[in-house]
Symmetry: C2
Subunit: 319 residues, 2 copies
Amino acid sequence: MIQDLAAQVATGNRRAIARAITLIESGRADHRAQAQEMLGHLPIDRQALRIGLSGTPGVGKSTFIEAFGLMLAEAGKKVAVLAVDPSSARTGGSILGDKTRMEQLSRHPNAFIRPSPSQSHLGGVARRTREAVQVCEGAGYDVVLIETVGVGQSETMVAEMCDLFVLLLAPAGGDELQGVKRGIMEMADLILVNKADGDLRAQAIRTCADYAGALRLLRKRPQDPDDFPKALTMSAYDGVGLYEAWDEMQTLANWRKDHGHWEARRRSQAVGWFQEEVQSALLARALADPETKDEMERMGQAVAEGQVAPSVAAARVLG
Amino acid sequence: MIQDLAAQVATGNRRAIARAITLIESGRADHRAQAQEMLGHLPIDRQALRIGLSGTPGVGKSTFIEAFGLMLAEAGKKVAVLAVDPSSARTGGSILGDKTRMEQLSRHPNAFIRPSPSQSHLGGVARRTREAVQVCEGAGYDVVLIETVGVGQSETMVAEMCDLFVLLLAPAGGDELQGVKRGIMEMADLILVNKADGDLRAQAIRTCADYAGALRLLRKRPQDPDDFPKALTMSAYDGVGLYEAWDEMQTLANWRKDHGHWEARRRSQAVGWFQEEVQSALLARALADPETKDEMERMGQAVAEGQVAPSVAAARVLG
């Protein structure tokens, strides 16, 4: 039955994909085992372009995803949209992966949209999202967009599971949160300054120039071709600059594939996930003992209040 | 005897400080226990200004530390200089904390200089350095400089144990490695563009303006007063701009103390160290079993070569 599910996923059946991801999201031990088995039966010779996408509310992320996704879907590409939104950070419900904000795209036969798994623990969200990406790739999707709203460490997590990281910004001076969160700008392969239309067009061009200047100060890494990372303007609302953005993403992806960086990045990410899962499981095992769990919370509190030194507290928990 | 050592450290005796740090650097279980005891006997009402300092070879870091350190020492402040340099990253021997490069400072009675602990494992270096910082504080030092050469994740580690993070750069266009390593610029509270003298002065001013522009794009965090983070020029060789840099550091430190961010940062760092040490110890325990250690290495290799999925590999190691 699990093999059947995997086979159906491989044909691209959207209901099967949804069921597979629901299975992945379950924490039950038997479901975990089934999920591993299912993942093991998916075709391994398929690759999607995994694009991480970060942008605070108000920059026009849903408008962008809908317009960009439709452009690709209409061109015959299969596009999946997954959301990362740890529920511990949710205020007033998640708007990510919300089909009502991407209605046209959600109805397109070449598209698949999935809201965030409802986990408060970032590590739990990470694993489930990575495995959901695997399912989408096994189902033959060409592009998997992984969107994050910019809370906590979610960008770092997304950057560690994507091939390209795209940052969406609004022109400076608007109502949205100003400036870019620390640590995010330097993760970006591409910065897209949205809303380059109407009254905001001139400001968008200036904002884009500012970020382009900042990006030029970053040291080139082996996986960065000339001219990358770069900043572009666009108007998701008017549909301007979307094809250019896609073209840049493909240029970068192809260059990295030609120069060995693509596979190197994926391998390095895989090793990182392996190590994280081992560490996660070791901690979970230790915390399965109620006494250890209590001690961990008590000592964490004591350290936070400056009553115990960190090393001493750690020794007590594990003693 | 351990209490005696702690008492001597508390008087500021430099030989005792050196012995205490040597004890901390030892991995032996009995030494670890003695080190914990010694740390527990140090005065807890003393605080130093912990300054993280990053700069690639060639930016003039040793010249800066010597000049800056002497300025403070001559003003009656006690200055410790610790180095972070994981030996796995060393090429041709470490030049950090090298007293021959900071000869005058190393001879000043108000200064204490210590090379990096020789550990290849970054976590090992982290713990030892944090505890060495505690020793210097317990010995009554006013300023502890923690310098890193910019390899691997050493800046992240240093940023997590300092109160202020300072990035040293050279004017663009010189022989040194160009540009700033990704992720580092956004950690900085202060960027100092060195070598603003002679032929390079004009370029230093331009480089400083470029970085100041980039810093303005970052979103303000609660712990950032107006005008921070900022970029300044200086000439460590000519002794110009050192007092200004110190003044800015104090302005920032005092503002954070007045607004509750100082303690909050230290508490948050302490909780992070606590969690890291628990995780570290759990992993060390698991790897103490030779079979598990072998499986971990084998599976890590298999994942790196794309032969096994990360989740499956993790399950095998811990099964």
